[in-house]
C-alpha cells in the first residue's frame, strides 16, 4: 500500500527538466563589472541579437522574425513612437556603438511599428537629427543616400527627407 502511495506521489510530480543546452543558460556577455545584466527584457533582446555583433543589415530580419509587425492606428503609432523614442534616447544617448544603439529594445519596438512609423522617423530626423538611419533601412529596405555619404548625417538626412517628400510621406 505504501509503495502505491509513494509511486502515485512520484508520478504526480512535474518532470524536472535538466538544463543541457545553451538556450536555457543565458550567455553572459559581460563577464566583469557589478552592473551586469540588470534589465531582463533587455538581456533577452541582447541574447537574441548578440550584443556587439548586431549586423544592421540583418536588423529587419531579426526584429521581424521574432515578432510580427505591430499594427496600430495613426495616433497610437505616434504616441507609442514618442514614448519609445524618449526611452531609447535616455538609455543610449551617450553611446557611440551603432550595434548597441540598434539592439536597444525600444529601438527594435520602433522598427516593429513598421511603415506607419516612417513619417514620424523622417519628421524626427528633420527636427532632432536622431540616429534613425538603421531603423529606416530596416523598415524600408533601402538607403537613398550615396554610400560615400554614409556617416554624414546632414547629407543622409537630406537624402531621406527628399525620398520622403517624393513618396508623399512628409
Amino acid at each position: 500500500m505504501l509503495e502505491v502511495v509513494v509511486l502515485t506521489f512520484v508520478l504526480s510530480q512535474p518532470p524536472v527538466r535538466r538544463s543541457t543546452c545553451e538556450e536555457e543558460q543565458p550567455i553572459c556577455f559581460y563577464s566583469t563589472g557589478s552592473q551586469a545584466i540588470q534589465d531582463e527584457q533587455q538581456f533577452k533582446i541582447s541574447s537574441l541579437v548578440g550584443v556587439g555583433s548586431v549586423d544592421i543589415k540583418d536588423l529587419r530580419a531579426k526584429v521581424f522574425s521574432t515578432a510580427p509587425e505591430i499594427s496600430y492606428g495613426p495616433s497610437e503609432v505616434a504616441d507609442t513612437f514618442n514614448l519609445l523614442a524618449k526611452e531609447w534616447s535616455l538609455q543610449t544617448g551617450y553611446i557611440s556603438s551603432t550595434d548597441d544603439i540598434t539592439s536597444n529594445s525600444n529601438y527594435q519596438q520602433i522598427v516593429r511599428l513598421g511603415w506607419g512609423v516612417v513619417p514620424l522617423l523622417l519628421k524626427d530626423l528633420q527636427d532632432n537629427q536622431r540616429f534613425w538611419f538603421p531603423a529606416l533601412y530596416a523598415i524600408t529596405g533601402i538607403r537613398p543616400f550615396d554610400p560615400s555619404d554614409a556617416g554624414n548625417s546632414k547629407r543622409m538626412t537630406n537624402a531621406w527627407l527628399k525620398w520622403g517628400m517624393k513618396k508623399g510621406l512628409i
Binding site: Y30, D99, Q129, G151
Partner: protein, 175 residues
C-alpha cells in the same frame, strides 16, 4: 558643471574627476552628427562606426579591434603599450567589452582625456577609468592605446580640413 546623467551611467566619473567641455570646445551636443570615434579622430562631420549607415575610412567594416586599429593607422597612429603622456605624442585609447570596441578617448596635451559621449556632451576626464562602465550599454575598459607624433597630427589635420572643405564644395554642387 556636473552632468548627473553621465554620472549615473559612469559610476567612477565623479570620483575620477571630469569637466563638461562642450561649450569650451565649441561643439555642443548634436545627436547623430558625430560620435566618440569621430571625436578621437578629430572629425566633427561624420558619425564613425564600421557599418553601412556610418562613416568608415575603408571598405572592410567589422566591429573588431583590428578594424579600429587599421582605421586609426590611416590617421598616423600606431599601437603603443601604455596611456602615459609622452612628449611630442598624441594618444588615443580604445575601450572594449569582450574585445568588442565600444568607445574611444583622445589624450590632451596636459595628459587628461577628452571623450564625446555618443552624440551628447564632450567631457574632459582626468583618468581613463572615469568612463569605465559595464552592463548592457556601457563602454567597458581601455583595451588598447595608440599614439602618433604631434607633427604627424598637424599634417593629418591639415589633410582632413582640406578634404572636408573640398567635399563641402562638391557636395553643395552635386546635391
Amino acid at each position: 558643471m556636473r552632468c548627473f546623467d553621465l554620472e549615473s551611467v559612469f559610476p567612477k566619473l565623479f570620483a575620477a574627476g571630469y569637466e563638461k567641455t562642450s561649450e569650451k570646445t565649441g561643439h555642443p551636443p548634436k545627436p547623430g552628427a558625430y560620435n566618440c570615434i569621430a571625436w578621437a579622430a578629430n572629425d566633427m562631420k561624420h558619425w564613425w562606426w564600421p557599418d553601412k549607415d556610418s562613416y568608415w575610412p575603408f571598405k572592410e567594416r567589422q566591429t573588431t579591434i583590428p578594424c579600429f586599429i587599421k582605421a586609426f593607422r590611416l590617421l598616423g597612429y600606431r599601437v603603443c603599450d601604455n596611456s602615459r603622456s609622452e612628449f611630442a605624442f598624441e594618444k588615443v585609447a580604445l575601450y572594449a567589452i569582450n574585445k568588442i570596441p565600444k568607445h574611444m578617448a583622445r589624450q590632451l596635451k596636459n595628459g587628461s582625456w577628452t571623450s564625446k559621449c555618443g552624440g551628447e556632451e564632450d567631457i574632459t576626464h582626468f583618468t581613463l577609468d572615469a568612463v569605465e562602465s559595464f552592463g548592457p550599454y556601457a563602454y567597458g575598459a581601455p583595451e588598447l592605446y595608440m599614439r602618433r607624433l604631434i607633427f604627424i597630427s598637424w599634417i593629418v589635420k591639415l589633410f582632413q580640413l582640406l578634404i572636408g572643405k573640398t567635399k563641402e564644395l562638391f557636395g553643395e554642387n552635386t546635391t
